[in-house]
């Protein structure tokens, strides 16, 4: 299993990667351009305001006259209103872009996840995939839309300020700009360190949350293991770590702001010294001096934002890489183009069930390996007639679950082929097989929602009557109708509000309502109480009736009612026949059944 390493900090700014990300921006091209345009306006207007101050001072105050001040006030108010509107539009558009882009990425990601093969899911932990679909995408949406805002605004405002300054007085402009390089250096340096420290703090914080989680969810384990003190000691170590790195992070932020202030005041001091002298010598006007006071401290905003956004972008590269690699993963099992052209795919298919499926399954010299050189099935052949019930028996690792996975085309043979109704199943669509398949897992997975919703999952068109009938068939109706809300009872996340046995029964109802031609059951080993056990057994018998069935069997009753028992060992069939035949044969099955220590397969 792959270790999950999140929050890596990549070394270099990767333009190629951001270009790839840019592809996802294509549908938002207009929006992005509009946003950039507005931000340029905001930046320019921001640079205009100090100039207005200069105008006021030179034309009214030092001139000692007020004619035209009314007009000036009107223009000023007009500009303010315009700027406020720009800001309104800017946030709305950036928000539209952010939410739209993340929505798209999530949609594309989700659709792609539906197509990826199960082998992909076998390798990736759910938490790993969740992180990509949630926090990584959120970070990307955020960084791209607000990145446009910050970058365009930062550059245009700086550029416009510089242009204005140069236009007013180029010498004073150069003096003022002297503080720009150290300001840029300091900002980038601090933003980078602060980001790293903040991430460290976040990481420790999530470990603290994890510890609380364990301390609370594992309360019983802690008590019975008498681990209270040790847990607390470990926790205190963690919080101490949290304290020291939080303080460290706070120290850097506490250092950065004063440094920036000092640099700003240095600019101010320079303007005062050089500009003041100019005013005395009458080479500058008062207004120029005051306007430059503003320009001198105005650089901090854009420089800070640019440093912020570029460090974040560098950090978000890891997110971009992860999301892109997920979206670009090719599914191992998919319909061939010809098949797709003929039958459509999951999202477009019009005739869902395609040509009728009868249920004859034929394994022809099938070999399969998960890892190269480690075959799990070797030259496996098995012909199953329509409606035949096959019980698969064997020790863990004998290959019985692989047979089932191949039959349901969750995996495909490495060599050999599998025919369904005489046709290689690769010549038909996945949808065709899967919509005719009933698959019940050892650990039944229910979706949150009501019992009704869950049963309906097997057949979306089913009405209440059908749902009830299905539940009755598999003996689930009795317990459901005893619940206060009956079929409308919420099952909770993962169905956790129901007992294991009840979950089983609901999952049976879900399978049977789909009316599949091929039925696959991985029987649960877990022992449940006797009453439930009986209900489940009779439900299984009913489900298999008239359907081609593959059962990884643990219950004796299931095995006995099978038409044929396939005994597997190391990926090969060692014996097959009915229960009685195999017992008479006194071979591997006989010993398995009776076991060495009074135990067996059941």
């Amino acid at each position: 299993m792959q270790q999950i390493k999140e929050d890596e900090f990549s070394k270099q700014f990767d333009f190629e990667l951001w270009k790839k990300m840019g592809k996802f921006l294509i549908p938002f091209k207009k929006l992005a351009l509009m946003l950039a345009f507005i931000m340029a306006l905001v930046g320019i207007l921001d640079a205009v305001f100090p100039y207005l101050t200069k105008y006021v001072i030179d034309n009214f105050i030092t001139a000692n006259q007020v004619s035209g001040l009314g007009w000036f006030a009107a223009i000023y108010a007009g500009l303010v209103t315009w700027q406020a509107l720009n800001i309104l539009l800017m946030i709305i558009i950036a928000g539209k872009l952010e939410t739209g882009l993340s929505y798209d990425l999530r949609r594309i990601g989700f659709n792609h996840l539906q197509e990826l093969s199960l082998s992909y899911y076998d390798k990736k932990a759910v938490g790993w995939l969740m992180a990509r679909m949630t926090s990584d995408i959120r970070r990307l949406g955020d960084i791209i839309s607000w990145g446009i805002v910050d970058i365009v605004w930062g550059f245009t405002m700086m550029a416009a300020s510089i242009v204005f300054m140069l236009a007013i007085n180029w010498k004073l402009a150069l003096v003022t700009m002297a503080v720009l390089p150290p300001l840029i250096a300091v900002s980038f340096y601090f933003q980078k360190i602060m980001l790293k420290l903040q991430r460290l703090v976040r990481k420790i914080n999530s470990r603290i949350t994890g510890s609380f989680n364990e301390g609370i969810m594992g309360a019983r384990a802690t008590k019975t293991l008498v681990r209270e003190e040790k847990n607390l000691q470990e926790f205190q170590k963690l919080t101490a770590e949290m304290e020291s790195s939080s303080v460290k992070s706070a120290i850097y932020s506490a250092l950065y702001h004063p440094l920036a202030i000092t640099l700003g005041s240095l600019g101010l001091g320079l303007v005062l010294w050089y500009g003041g002298a100019g005013v005395v010598e009458n080479t500058f006007q008062y207004g120029t001096l005051v306007a430059f006071f503003s320009y001198a401290v105005m650089f901090f905003g854009p420089v800070n934002n640019l440093a912020y956004i570029f460090t974040r972008m560098q950090a978000a590269q890891a997110s971009a890489e992860r999301v892109i690699s997920m979206i670009n993963t090719e599914p191992e099992i998919k319909d061939a183009p010809e098949v797709k052209a003929k039958y459509g795919d999951f999202f477009t298919t019009e005739n869902p069930r395609g040509p009728e499926l009868h249920g004859a399954v034929d394994f022809k010299n099938v070999s399969f390996s998960y890892l190269k050189g480690e075959p799990v099935l070797k030259n496996f052949s098995l012909e199953v007639k329509k409606g035949e019930k096959i019980a698969l028996v064997g020790e863990t690792g004998s290959g019985k679950s692989t047979v089932v996975k191949l039959a349901s085309r969750f995996y495909e043979p490495t060599s050999g082929k599998i025919l369904i109704d005489g046709t290689d199943y690769r010549e038909r669509s996945l949808f065709w097989l899967h919509s005719n398949l009933g698959y019940v897992l050892q650990d039944p997975h229910l979706f949150s929602g009501t019992i009704r919703d869950n049963i309906k999952y097997g057949n979306l068109e089913a009405g209440d009557e059908e749902i009830q009938k299905a539940a009755q068939t598999v003996n689930a109706h009795h317990f459901i109708s005893r619940l206060e809300k009956g079929y409308d009872t919420e099952v909770g996340e993962k169905g956790d509000l129901l007992s294991t046995g009840e979950k089983q029964l609901v999952s049976f109802a879900r399978a049977i309502i789909a009316d599949p031609q091929i039925f696959i059951l991985d029987e649960a080993t877990s022992s449940i109480d006797t009453e439930m056990e009986k209900l489940i057994q009779s439900a299984i018998d009913k489900m298999m009736e008239g359907r081609t069935s593959f059962i990884i069997a643990h219950r004796l009753s299931t095995i006995r009612s099978a038409d044929r028992i396939i005994v597997l060992k190391d990926g090969e069939i060692v014996e097959q026949g009915t229960h009685q035949e195999l017992l008479n044969h006194k071979g591997y099955y006989y010993n398995l059944y009776l076991g060495d220590a009074e135990e067996g397969i059941v």
């Binding site: 299993m1 305001f49 105050i61 000692n64 001040l69 209103t81 800001i87 309104l88 800017m90 950036a94 929505y103 996840l113 199960l118 899911y121 932990a125 759910v126 995939l129 969740m130 989680n213 301390g215 609370i216 019983r220 384990a221 008590k223 019975t224 293991l225 607390l232 949290m242 303080v247 706070a250 506490a254 250092l255 004063p258 005041s265 001091g269 320079l270 303007v271 005062l272 003041g276 008062y286 001096l289 005051v290 999951f346 999202f347 996945l430 949808f431 398949l437 698959y439 979706f447 999952y457 996340e493 993962k494 080993t525 877990s526 022992s527 109480d529 006797t530 056990e533 059944y593 009074e598």
Partner: protein
């Protein structure tokens, strides 16, 4: 307000730090106030020709520098003065930031530690009824709310208030009418942002909840991917997800739109405020009622005030949140911890257990156990059979004092259970649960959770006994593999086996298996029990199971039904009498199999 006194209590030990931080903040604000005044003096009285009116000590300083004439030639002195003042301001800002963070972090560490330790010691009954998600939230996000408030918001509020007071005083002394113009919009901005953030909180919450729903759909799709595929429901899932995805997009967009309204309105107000100062100031300055330097000072002050003032409304709304968070935290801390009386005993435990007429039930509810009596001698094994809800788990929980019995008497080696120290007792009982909880650590660490003073060999030994060793060796990182979401995922049976290993390494005189082999297949179940038999010295064992094979070899077996013992005896006795035990036995061991086995000469089966 009781919340404030509570905060005061929390700050104990950090009060000096906090006080120094506040003083630094005041000093920083004072320096921030002075530097625009230097600017004003420079403009009006150095470059300009206004007479200076300042306290005499500053005046003497001024004359020492050569008065106006001297400074005019050396304007760099004024520039340097401004830089110097800002450096001083910066130093105190730094001190404030550092100390406030130290105080707040140390306090939140204290709070977290208190919560964690406290929760660990709350009685099991508390954990059974509490909603875990809510409790975790109290320990994490509520603590953070309090921390943010102390580290950031108190400081910001103090900053804004102090700045406002300083600036207004100075401005008022310089020009009262102009001061009115300069602060006219401030109350409006504070009020506006306060009401805005109170309103928008609902939208934030809605968006958060919607995100949660979207994540649930995603999570369920990913964990249930096999079901989705088996029913070919990809299309349905895509639609389901799209609906939530779309809903979240819209709600988040609503939030951002509100923010857009807030920022544009408040920016508008702020810019208008600056404009008003500029225009009105220019009007009066042109008439000579205001100097240019004073105008520059006013615009600078207004510029410095606007940002913190805009934050003020937001912070005030968060103060409300903080009060709620404190109440929620205190509610947890006020729960009573599990206690042992100081004279509780710590006897040597050999493993003789006796239950005499024991009854138990939650207050006001039907009894879960009624009149239970049995005896178990050192080294003996008790098997318990019973359906869900029969009281089996409650029975063994009483023995570990996870619950306290209300009637009857339980004795271990003749000592009444309620007189034995709880931790001491639990140290002597190895308890394996049906759904064991594993910690997000390596497999090795999980095994040695309760006893880390063991060698590698001992770890492998117990792992072999619990039939988990081979499984572990197959993992890429063996015993160092992490367990859980971020590591290897174990099946229910593997978890149970790991929990068995974890218990065996403790070497307890009493072992309880609470249906803890239920998810293990029968073969492995048998192997584990065989290994246990070979291993164990004189360990008193209680096994709960639905499998007769698992129970058969116990010295005593009891059958529970709705809190009562309905049958008791040995396997032989029980299969020879009418009753639940024999019924279950017949289902699990059909006559055909028994016949074959008896032919093979197996003792147990021959009995029937």
């Amino acid at each position: 307000m009781s919340q404030l006194t509570y905060i005061w209590k929390l700050m104990k030990g950090n009060r000096m730090l906090y006080l120094t931080a506040v003083i630094s903040l005041f000093l920083a604000t004072i320096f921030a106030t002075i530097s625009p005044m230097v600017l004003r003096i420079t403009i009006d009285s150095v470059i300009g020709e206004e007479p200076l009116e300042l306290p005499s000590w500053i005046m003497s300083f001024y004359h020492n520098l050569g008065g106006r004439e001297g400074l005019l030639g050396r304007l760099w002195i004024m520039g340097l003065l401004i830089v110097g003042l800002n450096i001083l301001r910066g130093i105190f800002l730094f001190v404030r930031g550092k100390l406030a963070a130290q105080a707040a972090e140390s306090m939140s560490k204290q709070l977290r530690d208190n919560l964690f330790g406290h929760i660990q010691h709350l009685p099991y009954t508390y954990h059974v009824r509490v909603k875990t998600g809510d409790l975790i939230q109290r320990c994490t996000s509520d603590v953070e709310t309090v921390r943010d408030f102390l580290a950031v918001q108190v400081v910001e509020i103090g900053n804004a208030a102090f700045m406002l007071a300083m600036f207004v005083t100075i401005m008022y002394n310089l020009h009262p009418q102009m001061t009115l113009v300069a602060v006219a919009v401030i109350p409006i901005i504070i009020g506006f942002s306060f009401f805005f953030f109170r309103q928008v909180r609902i939208r934030f919450k809605k968006a958060d909840e919607s995100e949660g729903r979207m994540q649930t759909v995603l999570q369920e799709n990913l964990t249930g991917v096999r079901v989705v595929r088996a029913f070919a429901r990809q299309n349905y899932e895509v639609e389901k997800f799209d609906e939530k995805n779309d809903e979240y997009r819209n709600l988040l967009y609503q939030v951002i739109r509100s923010m857009a309204h807030f920022w544009s309105v408040s920016d508008f107000l702020c810019m208008m405020q600056t404009g008003a100062v500029l225009v009105v100031g220019a009007y009066w300055a042109a008439q000579g009622r205001l100097t240019l330097g004073t105008l520059v000072l006013f615009t600078t002050y207004v510029g410095m005030l606007l940002w913190p003032i805009r934050q003020l409304g937001r912070i005030l709304t968060q103060a409300g949140k903080m009060f709620v968070a404190i109440d929620r935290i205190r509610e947890v801390l006020n729960e009573k911890e599990e206690e042992d009386s100081p004279e509780a005993l710590k006897p040597e435990i050999a493993g003789n257990i006796s239950f005499k007429n024991v009854s138990f039930g939650y207050e006001g509810e039907e009894r879960l156990l009624d009149n239970i009596s049995f005896e178990l001698k050192e080294g003996e094994t008790l098997g318990i059979l019973g359906s869900t809800g029969s009281g089996k788990s409650t029975l063994v929980s009483l023995l570990a004092r996870l619950y306290d019995y209300q009637q009857g008497s339980i004795k271990i080696d003749g000592v009444e259970l309620s007189r034995i120290n709880k931790k001491w007792l639990r140290k002597n009982i190895g308890f394996v649960h049906q759904e064991p909880f594993l910690f997000a650590r390596s497999i090795k660490e999980n095994i040695t959770l309760a006893n880390d003073d063991v060698s590698e060999d001992e770890i492998y030994d117990v792992a072999r006994t619990a039939a988990i060793h081979d499984v572990v060796m197959e993992f890429e990182e063996g015993y160092d593999s992490l367990v859980g979401e971020r590591g290897v995922s174990l099946s229910g049976g593997q978890k149970q086996r790991l929990a068995i290993a974890q218990t065996l390494i403790r070497d307890c005189p009493i072992l309880i298996f609470d249906d803890s082999l239920s998810a293990v297949d029968t073969e492995t179940d048998a192997r584990i029990r065989q290994a246990l038999r070979n291993n164990k010295k004189e360990v008193t064992t209680i096994i709960i199971s639905h499998r007769i094979n698992t129970l058969a070899e116990a010295d005593k077996i009891i059958v529970l039904d709705q809190g009562h013992i309905i049958q008791a005896g040995t396997h032989k006795e029980l299969i020879s009498e009418e009753g639940t035990y024999r019924k279950v036995w017949n289902i699990q061991h059909p006559p055909e199999k028994r016949k074959l086995l008896s032919k093979k000469g197996s003792v147990d089966y021959a009995a029937n």
